[in-house]
């Protein structure tokens, strides 16, 4: 069991990915035909959320659309109904956004504002998949601990234990302190592993991976909001006293400059959290995709032969980017978790400074 886990080293993963990447241009050329290639459009499509999931060639999974309209109630149907711009039940797909239309086909803005779209999109499916994977992996690990108490970790435990210990000993305890860290451990672990799972799933180029989930601002906003809400609920009196009403400073300076800055800071902290991971992961996806686009750009400019020869370099660069992205995936998960822990630590600190 340990061997299997060790066999799944980053190196062998990367090799697998590179192989898949090498196959990718050939498949892409085969299916691409002679259509004019628009790199920007392709990249944006790949990093955006979608109501359908393109697998390979002509195979596309049409994901379910779930919408609630305050006027018309719940709707659940396949996104295949929207194919080729067809209007269904008075709804239409505009890009990836569902809008309401009048019977004559014009946009009904009033109706559109009332739509709550909770469709199981590509990203939503990836999130659920990551959640299910996490549940399976960690309950299995927990079983191992229950079965063999006080013994060395084995199998899946050996893979996750160093990470859990790292989060506990190098993230939670130094940031929050030995007295209070335990309360936050479940959140920090869930956060860290959720981001890691989503990031790594996003780096697998084939179905069901490859969705740009943590590079989606909605997802990072949600995560940052969790951290923000927990921060606010754990904050103690001393934190607020020191943040809003710093002792020992002239009240005018305080009220005019420092207090507004601090209030801004409280909101900016989660905002930087959500932007940082969003931008890093999105950029990773965009750069990797850009290298692939080069193949097609050269291919359409000077013919397939040039495209193929460029693909050697593109794949090499994209492979390098992928390795870098694996690093980024880990670092961003770490940074998000560490900063969350630091915020918790700041608002729960006992009055000792000053």
């Amino acid at each position: 069991m340990t061997y299997k886990i060790r066999g799944l080293s980053i190196y062998s993963l990367a090799k697998t990915f590179l192989l898949l990447f090498a196959l990718f241009p050939i498949i892409a050329f085969a299916e691409g035909g002679e259509k004019k290639f628009d790199a920007g459009k392709m990249i944006v499509e790949h990093v955006s959320d979608a109501h359908s999931w393109h697998i390979a060639g002509n195979y596309t999974i049409h994901l379910p659309v779930i919408i609630y309209s305050t006027d018309k109630g719940f709707f659940l149907f396949s996104s295949a109904r929207f194919e080729d711009g067809v209007i269904y039940n008075g709804f239409k797909l505009n890009g990836q956004k569902i809008i309401a239309v009048h019977p004559d086909g014009s946009v009904n803005n009033e109706e559109t504002a009332k739509i709550w779209d909770i469709s199981l999109t590509k990203n939503a499916i990836s999130i659920l998949l990551a959640g299910i994977l996490m549940a399976l992996v960690f309950t299995a690990a927990a079983k191992g601990y229950a079965k063999r108490p006080n013994q060395a970790p084995k199998g899946i435990q050996s893979a996750i234990e160093p990470v859990i210990l790292f989060i506990r000993d190098d993230v939670a305890i130094p940031s929050i302190g030995k007295k209070k860290y335990e309360k936050y451990m479940p959140y920090l672990l869930t956060l860290f592993f959720f981001i890691i799972f989503l990031n790594l799933l996003g780096l697998i180029p084939i179905f069901p991976g490859g969705a740009n989930v943590t590079g989606n601002i909605g997802v990072t906003t949600t995560l940052a909001c969790f951290t923000f809400i927990i921060t606010m609920f754990s904050s103690n009196k001393s934190y607020w006293a020191h943040t809003l009403w710093m002792p020992g400073i002239h009240p005018v300076i305080k009220l005019l400059i420092l207090t507004p800055i601090e209030i801004l800071g409280i909101i900016l902290k989660p905002f930087t959290l959500l932007i940082r991971i969003f931008a890093n992961i999105l950029a990773g996806h965009i750069v990797a995709l850009s290298f692939f686009s080069l193949i097609f750009i050269f291919g359409t400019l000077w013919g397939k032969a040039v495209g193929y020869s460029v693909s050697v370099f593109s794949v090499a660069f994209a492979g390098g980017m992928l390795l870098l992205d694996i690093l980024v995936a880990l670092i961003q998960a770490y940074v998000f978790t560490l900063l969350s822990a630091l915020y918790f630590g700041t608002v729960t600190a006992e009055e000792e400074h000053h």
Binding site: D117, G131, I217
Partner: protein, 164 residues
């Protein structure tokens, strides 16, 4: 614009998924795992401590053993020494006693000898006296056995007597 505008649907699913995973794993995974990790750490710490203690005790025991051994050896030496001393004194005493006894025996032997000698001498004297008397008697008898002899003797005696 889609890229930088959060969509409601994803926020909804993310919140739901995260909340469910969080609540599920908190109960099913994180708390048990963290607990067993701390338990194991304590267990290892305890095991190391008790091993250290056992080692110390062992050392103490060994030192005690050595002490006991040393004591036993000293005891043995003492016993041997005492025994030797006792033996020597017994021998010396015996020698002294024997000498005394010997001297006494010699003394008494000498005294006995002396008395025996004296007795023997006395006896001898008596015997000699008796013999002398007997001899004198016999001589006298022989001298005076015949009248002639009696007459000679008287004559001789008379010859010696100075008749002045």
């Amino acid at each position: 614009m889609d890229l930088i505008l959060p969509s409601f649907g994803l926020i909804f699913w993310m919140t739901l998924a995260f909340a469910i995973v969080f609540l599920l794993l908190r109960k099913m995974a994180w708390k048990p795992i963290l607990k067993s990790l701390t338990d194991r750490e304590n267990y290892i710490k305890d095991a190391l401590n008790s091993a250290e203690k056992a080692k110390e005790e062992m050392e103490k025991l060994q030192a005690g053993n050595e002490k006991i051994l040393l004591e036993a050896r000293n005891e043995r030496d003492n016993l041997l020494k005492e025994a030797r001393e006792t033996k020597d004194s017994i021998i010396a005493e015996a020698k002294v006693k024997a000498q005394k006894e010997a001297a006494k025996i010699i003394e008494s032997a000498r005294e006995t000898l002396q008395s025996e000698k004296t007795a023997a001498l006395n006896d001898l004297k008596n015997q000699v006296a008796m013999l002398s008397i007997e001899i004198a008697e016999k001589i006298i008898k022989a001298e005076l056995s015949t009248d002639e002899k009696q007459k000679t003797l008287v004559k001789n005696l008379l010859a010696e007597v100075n008749l002045n």
